[in-house]
């Protein structure tokens, strides 16, 4: 009867593993606690079903194992039992779906006060663009991309004049402010993934995608790519620093001054050439 034993062990072992193993999600750093809660609900419902089915199977295998002269019951169906189980399943499914759809609605509705930032995926690095004082991001186009304009900013768009472009640097975000992340790619599909934020979204060349979040914990977090984008996929890394508003403002100020200095520098070069 080792089958019975193994079935029970699989059920019990899986539950113990779930509670005792050291592998679990990283502490959350955004407002998407809702997502974690929905996962927990789903874990409970599915866990109960899993254990119940396995233990019932183990019971059946033990209780109705073949013995000489044992007679199986001839019972083609039992409508009441089957419809009862169907209804219970329906209730369980609804209990998972309802919060899921509720949170999804929240997820795709960007709050009006969210400030936009842009994240650009390129094989195999992350670049960022923050709006300047005007709070607006300028237009871009793939055809404007050049060595001195890696993100393809439209030079004629006044909104884009004061945009802060970060390449090969950390992204900084202020804590507690909703942020709309606009995602763009210039080559292939990527996916902006910070495990602590829970939220993620694919990045499509040719169009832009978005999601939103509010950082809730200060610290430095790794950015990963979660959509196979070629050989360098696992090495497409970056960092995002969530910090207090004061520190963020100081950092942004520094970046803006750097941008201005750079622009003056290039203008100076142009003049020199003339």
């Amino acid at each position: 009867m080792h089958v019975v034993l193994v079935l029970v062990l699989v059920a019990v072992g899986s539950v113990l593993f779930h509670f005792l193993s050291p592998w679990w999600w990283t502490p959350i750093a955004s407002n998407w606690q809702y997502i974690d809660d929905t996962i927990i609900i789903t874990f409970w419902i599915t866990g109960v079903v899993f254990v119940a089915v396995l233990l019932f199977m183990a019971y059946c295998v033990w209780r109705f194992r073949h013995r000489e002269g044992h007679q199986a019951a001839f019972e083609p169906e039992n409508r009441r039992l089957e419809s009862g189980l169907t209804i219970i399943t329906g209730v369980g499914v609804a209990a998972m779906l309802a919060p899921g759809l509720f949170v999804w609605n929240h997820f795709i509705t960007v709050p009006p006060d969210a400030s936009a930032i842009e994240i650009v995926g390129q094989q195999w690095q992350w670049s960022f663009r923050l709006p300047g004082k005007d709070g607006k991001l300028g237009k871009t186009s793939v055809d404007s991309i050049a060595d001195d304009n890696p993100l393809g900013l439209d030079k004629n768009d006044p909104d884009g004049r004061d945009d802060v472009v970060l390449q090969g640097e950390d992204l900084h975000l202020p804590i507690g402010k909703p942020i709309k992340v606009v995602l763009r790619s210039t080559d292939v599909l990527h996916d902006f993934y910070v495990p602590e934020f829970r939220a993620k979204m694919d990045i499509l060349p040719g169009s832009s995608t978005y999601f939103w979040l509010t950082p809730t914990r200060t610290g430095t977090f790794d950015i990963l790519c979660a959509e196979l984008c070629g050989t360098g996929h696992p090495y497409m890394r970056g960092s995002v620093v969530v910090e207090e508003q004061v520190a963020y403002d100081a950092w942004l100020d520094g970046q803006q001054r750097r941008m201005l200095a750079q622009q003056d520098g290039t203008k100076g070069e142009v003049k020199a050439q003339q």
Binding site: I35, T42, V53, F64, F74, D187, E196
Partner: protein, 590 residues
């Protein structure tokens, strides 16, 4: 009570249109270019199982790289992505689809329905040779310059056809061409499976008397016929984009500093086409497994399958519903986010008929007379892994829960459990079950039990902990997990453990292969009906059945396929072609 005329002895033989059998004249037409569905089934099965072994070895290499990054010098990142792509594509299309439909479908449909052969035997033969050609093209891509494609089995553009992905020169073209050949070949086979069920049933074999195996394969074939064209269209368009410079899927792209001449295309369009095929594909693999496992459980628990009607309706409902859930693979793809509501709802609804099937399998065990034969062991293990994998599907199908989990190892663990391990356990169970019909001999039981325990427990230990890596935030398709602050050292150790288990499980398959070959000569003689089963394939006059399956006259069917332990019957089973016993009806009235 339904008014059914009771048959008596001396019913005239079945009035089914006799199929004109092609009578082979030489060894070549008998065993190689055979038009006998059973030979074609063996050809399909042997080819698919061999590819399965290759794909298994590819997965060893991947696992070795993940556990000991860089230890094998010949696996660089390029090679790694080629390995995962080929492993995935081989397993999903060339192993599982081909084995369930081409292998089991060909063998079981005519025999279980009391037909002499498939209705279009010539197309059936061509189907296998197209399949073999597709396989040859697929394997040839290992030999072309640049090697096979490394775009992942989903072949998402633009990266599938831009620089930075291995196999850009030849590999991707070979892959697309191979898939197209496979689809053309499959269409010929699929027409056979479907039309044989519609037209080839023997007298008395109504739809509601068909074994669930046939229901599963039939529904899956219909779905495959309707779903594969989506992949075909996707392949043609991508081939155009790659070779002729069109922009079906290709937007404006800067490829490593160079502006490509593409523009305006939509990568999402490909994803829609791919998953319009890809999701039904999951059920194309699952439904035959559902059907087969129902029969295995019923036969070896010596009990009628519980809730036969519900089982049939559930199969049909799942088949129909599976065409409106495809975009649940695309929740975070950037498609219109409002689709999420619709697709999450349909996806979770499909869980209900699936759950009914699970209940009915378990309820068939309840009050049964369970014989723990090797096929039964595999069937039980299927329920465990399928329930596990199905339940994690509820995480991924529920749109917002999918957001953190998509493209992580959680997904890898989920689909391996539910459409890798579970169907393969059914395949093993089915082979242990029907091998005696195919060869006349039983497979060795001790070897089978060894194979079972290592495979089942090993596979569970591989994939169950893997979910938690994904939960922790390890993305899938990473050449190495890397030193990221959130991964503790223990996660690396877990990776090593998973790899060791994978090697073990893989090695255990040698016992299975040895068993298959050894028992061909030395297995115990099985006789015609070793499991004392009701369905027609066990009632052939000769085992293994010759060309034409049944003797001079086709059997007549008097009952469903699940008459086990009928009260008052002299034996614990009544074959489908057994005329009514005296006073039988009285004992059945509810």
């Amino acid at each position: 009570m339904v008014d059914v005329p009771l048959g008596a002895a001396g019913v005239p033989p079945a009035e089914v249109e006799d199929v004109e059998l092609y009578h082979p004249k030489s060894w070549l037409t008998h065993y190689v270019f055979s038009q006998d569905a059973k030979i074609i089934a063996v050809q399909y099965s042997v080819t698919a199982l061999s590819i399965g072994l290759v794909a298994l070895m590819l997965s060893w290499l991947m696992r070795l790289q993940l556990a000991f990054p860089g230890a094998l010098s010949f696996i660089d990142a390029d090679a790694y992505y080629q390995l995962i792509t080929m492993h995935g594509m081989m397993m999903v299309v060339y192993v599982l689809t081909a084995l369930f439909l081409g292998g089991f479908g060909n063998y079981l449909i005519p025999l279980m329905l009391g037909a002499r052969d498939m209705v279009f035997p010539y197309a059936n033969m061509l189907s296998f040779w197209f399949y073999l050609l597709a396989v040859v093209v697929l394997f040839a891509s290992f030999a072309v310059p640049g090697g096979p494609t490394g775009a992942g089995w989903t072949l998402y553009p633009p990266q599938a056809i831009t620089a930075g992905t291995p196999g850009l020169a030849w590999g991707i073209i070979m892959m697309l061409v191979s898939l197209m050949i496979f689809i053309v070949g499959f269409t010929m086979g699929g027409l056979n499976y479907v039309v044989t069920v519609l037209q080839g049933r023997t007298r008395g074999m109504t739809l509601m008397r068909m074994p669930l195996t046939v229901w599963g394969i039939f529904t899956a074939s219909v779905m495959a016929l309707l779903a594969f064209p989506a992949l075909f269209v996707g392949c043609v368009m991508m081939l155009f984009d790659r070779l002729l410079g069109t922009s079906f899927f290709m937007p404006e792209i800067i490829e490593q500093g160079t502006r490509l001449p593409y523009g305006g295309g939509s990568p999402i369009l490909f994803q829609h086409l791919f998953w319009f095929f890809g999701h039904p594909e999951v059920y194309i693999v699952a439904l035959p497994a559902f059907g087969i496992v129902s029969d295995l459980i019923s036969v070896h628990a010596r009990r009628n399958i519980f809730g036969y009607r519900m089982m049939v309706w559930a199969i049909v409902a799942i088949g129909a519903l599976s065409f409106v859930v495809w975009a649940h693979h695309m929740y975070v793809s950037g498609m219109n986010p409002y689709f999420g509501f619709f697709f999450a709802t349909t996806t979770l609804i499909i869980a209900i008929p699936t759950a009914i099937k699970v209940y009915n399998w378990v309820l068939t065990l309840w009050r049964g007379d369970i014989h723990l034969t090797v096929p039964m062991l595999f069937a039980l293990a299927f329920i465990v892994t399928f329930v596990n994998g199905g339940l994690t599907g509820l995480f991924l199908g529920n749109v917002v829960v999918d957001v953190p989990l998509s493209d992580t190892m959680f997904v890898v663990a989920h689909f391996h459990m539910v459409m890798g391990v579970a169907p393969i356990l059914v395949i093993f169970g089915a082979i242990y079950h029907w091998y005696p019909k195919v060869t006349g001999r039983l497979l060795s039981v001790p070897l089978g039990q060894f194979h079972f325990w290592v495979t089942f427990l090993g596979a569970y230990l591989i994939f169950f902990p893997m979910h938690y890596l994904g939960l922790m935030g390890v993305p899938r398709r990473y050449y190495e997990m890397g030193e990221i602050a959130i991964y503790p050292q223990s996660a690396h150790d877990l990776n090593i453990f998973i790899t060791v288990m994978a090697l073990l499980v893989g090695a255990a398959q040698l016992a299975f292969v040895f068993n298959l070959i050894w028992s061909l000569r030395h297995g115990r003689e099985a006789g015609g009906n070793p499991w004392r089963a009701c369905s027609l394939e066990w009632q052939t006059p000769v085992t293994p059945p010759p060309h034409g399956n049944f003797g001079k006259e086709l059997p007549i069917v008097y009952r469903w396929a699940y008459d086990y332990h009928v009260p008052g019957a002299p034996e614990d089973f009544i074959p489908q072609n057994q005329p009514p016993l005296a006073g039988e009806m009285a004992s059945r009235t509810p």
